[in-house]
């Protein structure tokens, strides 16, 4: 009897979830399989694919063959894009942490009644259209923008800097748009933090920095891991921010993938690149799940 009641619950659960699953498979998850197939096909002459098994796309990810003498060499342009993507994503994670940790700490140590308001102030930019935020930072970074006006006004720099359309612009932009993703999990971790531990640290004659390094940071580690993954993953797959602030020249993987489906006319290469991106994100997520699972066991 208990067995059948359980089976009924499971059957109902599946039936209730089925419409959502069907739509997700049709318009989100299922098409990902097409990418996995296209990555092993031959590129069509103008666009699309020819249904011939080929590993050329995977070869093209890293290498290029000279059309005239057939020599194989590393594709420098591709490596530059990969390196820029990884470097900028890591730097974005680091910068968001540098600003995010004090902010999360500040919010978590406010009186209870103020906390919701401060959190709300972090959440508004988070839900504001990514394009609007990217556009806002673009205005600030312009040659004739506010930042240059302030810097030249204070005589810190003699003349306005061309920041827009450089790696720096993309870095500033990604830090700006992904900052809330770092603050929120850090806050969640600090909010659960037992502040008596700090007191204990001071009683044992630890300095403020020692307490931060030896007591606070190890305990809020799950929040640090969560925030880092939440920032790193979308940074690596960023498309809008590098496109707008990098001006089409400072491409990241996301833009490079798009290029293969547009002017590049190499759908298999685009699919292979998308698969690689998916793989890196998958590894990061597994790392995240394992890190948070082990923390739960310890705590």
């Amino acid at each position: 009897m208990a067995q059948t009641a359980e089976q009924k619950k499971a059957r109902e659960g599946w039936l209730l979830s089925l419409p959502a699953l069907t739509l997700l498979i049709l318009a989100a998850s299922g098409p990902l399989i097409i990418i996995a197939i296209y990555a092993f096909l031959t590129a069509g002459e103008y666009s699309g694919v020819i249904w011939d098994l080929s590993f050329k796309a995977w070869f093209q990810v890293l290498f290029e063959k000279d059309i005239f003498d057939g020599t194989v060499s590393l594709a420098d342009a591709h490596l530059t894009i990969f390196w820029r993507s990884v470097r900028l994503s890591l730097l974005t994670t680091l910068l968001t942490f540098t600003f995010g940790l004090p902010t999360a700490w500040f919010i978590a140590t406010r009186p209870l009644k103020q906390r919701a308001l401060w959190l709300f102030l972090i959440t508004i930019p988070f839900w504001t259209n990514l394009l609007v935020r990217t556009f806002a930072i673009m205005e600030v970074l312009r040659v004739e923008g506010i930042l240059n006006k302030i810097l030249t006004g204070l005589h810190i720099i003699p003349e306005p800097l061309q920041i827009l359309y450089t790696d720096t612009a993309v870095l500033i932009g990604m830090t700006y748009v992904y900052l809330p993703l770092m603050v929120l999990p850090l806050f969640a971790a600090i909010d659960r933090f037992d502040f008596r531990l700090i007191e204990a640290g001071y009683d044992l004659y630890a300095g403020r920095l020692t307490v931060l390094r030896r007591v606070i940071l190890p305990i809020i580690r799950p929040g640090i891991v969560a925030g880092s993954i939440l920032v790193f993953v979308p940074s690596l797959g960023a498309y809008v921010t590098p496109r707008v602030l990098g001006g089409g020249k400072k491409m990241m993987i996301g833009n490079f993938i798009e290029l293969q489906f547009g002017a590049g006319r190499n759908w298999p290469l685009g699919s292979a690149l998308a698969l690689i991106l998916l793989l890196i994100v998958g590894i990061a997520l597994i790392f995240y799940v394992r890190a948070s699972a082990s923390e739960n066991k310890d705590g």
């Binding site: 990418i35 919010i107 102030l121």
Partner: protein
């Protein structure tokens, strides 16, 4: 307790943290504030201030492309959030309060998949998939955008609904059962009213997510199907005018209104 001691030696103070935190809030809001202020610029350039004016709002309002894109955005967001919320409510009922049955993890993973996969990857996958359907059927309407938006909105609608369901008290439903209410009556008269704040919150998040989407829309749309964000992305490539500031500000205000409503709905009652 800790705040009383702040004046002497606060254990929660770390040197420089308050300064950095205030700096962060300034950094977060200064660009947005600049954007809003310059949307009221009377001049024609985004750099020089030409006096207060609402003329760019009028220009944007009368721009037929903006009008069409706005209507299309709202239409897609309304329909997609309605579909996503309905499916997410059913899925939340199917995955909460019945234990972890066989396949539960699979369902949960699939529902949350759009949050985990980089949008650009889903976008190119949908581009290939829908392109072949477009060729095969000849249909090039808004259906593709609505299907795609509904799908990636599901997890955003699902999460608040599920959270609400998990926090719900079972006693009322048990009582209804004890009073011989049929399961459907219990659902309609007890569960659904209690669940409504969660459903409303989920619908609002789904609406905002759909309204904001750039990447998937950019790849899936057929010619002449610009939404407001893809229209703006197109404009950014050309010389910027305060018109885009005006549109951005309008979008910003709409987001803040929806978010405030969301927070009031999900706020825990004391």
């Amino acid at each position: 307790m800790a705040s009383k001691r702040t004046k002497t030696f606060s254990i929660t103070t770390i040197p420089g943290f308050t300064f950095m935190a205030i700096a962060t809030f300034v950094i977060l809001y200064a660009p947005i504030a600049t954007l809003v202020i310059y949307s009221f610029n009377g001049g024609t350039s985004v750099a020089a201030w030409g006096g207060f004016s609402t003329k760019w709002y009028a220009v944007a309002w009368e721009n037929s492309q903006v009008q069409e894109a706005t209507l299309r955005s709202v239409f897609i967001a309304t329909l997609s959030s309605a579909i996503a919320t309905t499916l997410a409510t059913m899925a939340a009922l199917g995955t909460t309060r019945r234990g972890k049955y066989k396949g539960w993890n699979f369902i949960y993973l699939l529902i949350n998949q759009p949050i985990m996969v980089p949008e650009i990857v889903t976008a190119v996958a949908l581009l290939i998939f829908f392109a072949s359907i477009k060729v095969a059927t000849g249909y090039t309407g808004l259906g593709y955008l609505i299907a795609a938006h509904s799908a990636f909105c599901i997890p955003f609608a699902y999460l608040p609904i599920r959270a609400r369901l998990e926090g719900m008290d079972l006693t009322l439903e048990t009582a209804a059962g004890d009073l011989y209410a049929r399961p459907f009556t219990t659902f309609r008269r007890i569960t659904l009213p209690l669940l409504t704040p969660g459903i409303a919150a989920g619908a609002m998040l789904a609406f905002v997510i759909s309204l904001d989407d750039v990447i998937i829309t950019e790849f899936v749309k057929s010619a002449g199907q610009d939404t407001l964000p893809t229209y703006m992305l197109g404009q950014l490539r050309r010389a910027a005018t305060p018109e885009v500031n005006a549109i951005s500000t309008a979008l910003l205000v709409l987001t803040v209104i929806l978010l405030t409503a969301f927070f009031l709905l999900t706020r825990k009652r004391d």
